[in-house]
Subunit: 231 residues, 2 copies
């Protein structure tokens, strides 16, 4: 079976008050994105890496790779106007008979255990996403009001979201819709059932500057205990 | 105006593989609960502290206070079978004409800014809870299936949840229901509108062992920059 990981690095960094997109920020002295790619490359699955990157950053990425002696082979493809189009661009480079993970470039702490389990499950079930339950109560806004949701029924969705290639490509042939906030929502809209698997609280998305320090902490711990899995 | 903070320390610590409840775990060399109480005591609001504590831990708490020279006055009251009953026990000690915050003992990184704003808003609006939007996509489980929610409509609820005393006491006169997962859900059930205010991603709930290190990081940063508010 062929395995691919499409790493989506489309962010603009606007939320972190920095001009440099979050995937290029330094984490333990190395850009976040390199940690993310390494997590997949050195996993048991060893998928081929397809990196979706804004055209204006291709040169910067090349320079960073030279600077950090980063030699993991990545096929680079331009991003699109929306995340949907970015993933679609990446999909064009993956074989039809394969299993494909789509992963946020800014989730560098993803574990080998989660990657491997998600690929194997997807090969069996077709569409798999890692989820964790919320530690906080959850409310749903409705107009000017909001209602309490049953916390046990609510899950927070992470990546990698992993799919059989045929299924994912077929889903991405749909016309773009604003509802498509992640790959699961695209695949779901195409009529496929999504299988939920246990995510990992440590698999954080680098969104705010504090997240970088937390990620550094988690990576440090993972190094001391390479068999780290979800809690 | 009289101000109270009911600090609810009911947890059993079972999720952290430790026998000692999470509020007693050491954070920068001091029990989590002491950081939480200090956050309120040294805030601009300076509320009276009502500490809800399992009877079996009263002696331990006294010993910890002696050990750490912790002298902030707290009125201690026994917890109940559910969080609902614990808060109700605490409410019995607060004046009718007051504003009351209910806060998780295991959220030690709450900022003065959030405490002060929540109290002032509650005095004006009646019922205020701090919320943050989810960084992750959110799905709602429905039987064996699950559906994508519009992420912008979903908020994660933190504490302090702050209320006018009459309103909160009135709501807690209702019969206990399993739906009551937090104070807002109790007050809402009594027919009151809940006002949402911006929470703080740093105001984390100590749930897993990693959270302690993150909390230590945040406290360290807050010390360097005492005017820290939400992002």
């Amino acid at each position: 079976m062929k395995y691919y990981a499409i790493i989506v690095a489309g962010g603009s960094g606007s939320r972190m008050n920095s001009q440099i997109p979050k995937q290029f920020l330094l984490l333990n002295g190395k850009p976040v994105l390199m940690h993310t790619i390494e997590a997949f490359h050195f996993s048991d699955i060893k998928p081929k890496i397809i990196l979706v990157l804004n055209a204006e950053f291709h040169l910067l990425w090349k320079e960073l790779c030279d600077l950090h002696n980063f030699t993991i082979p990545c096929t680079i493809v331009n991003n699109g106007t929306e995340r949907f189009h970015s993933v679609k661009n990446g999909l064009g480079l993956a074989d039809d008979h394969s299993v494909i993970a789509v992963h946020d470039a800014v989730r560098p702490v993803v574990s080998n255990e989660l990657i491997t389990r998600s690929f194997y499950l997807a090969d069996h079930c077709g569409a798999v996403i890692p989820v964790v339950t919320s530690k906080d109560s959850v409310r749903l806004k409705e107009g000017n009001d909001s209602i309490t949701l049953n916390r046990e029924d609510v899950v927070l969705v992470q990546t990698p979201q992993v799919f059989k290639a045929e299924l994912l490509k077929n889903a991405y042939n749909q016309k773009y819709s604003k509802e498509f906030t992640d790959d699961a929502s695209v695949v779901e809209k195409a009529g496929h059932h999504i299988t939920l698997t246990q995510g990992d609280y440590k698999n954080i998305k680098i969104t705010y500057s504090e997240d970088l320090e937390l990620a550094a902490l988690y990576l440090e711990k993972a190094k001391k205990n390479p068999a780290n899995g979800p809690d």
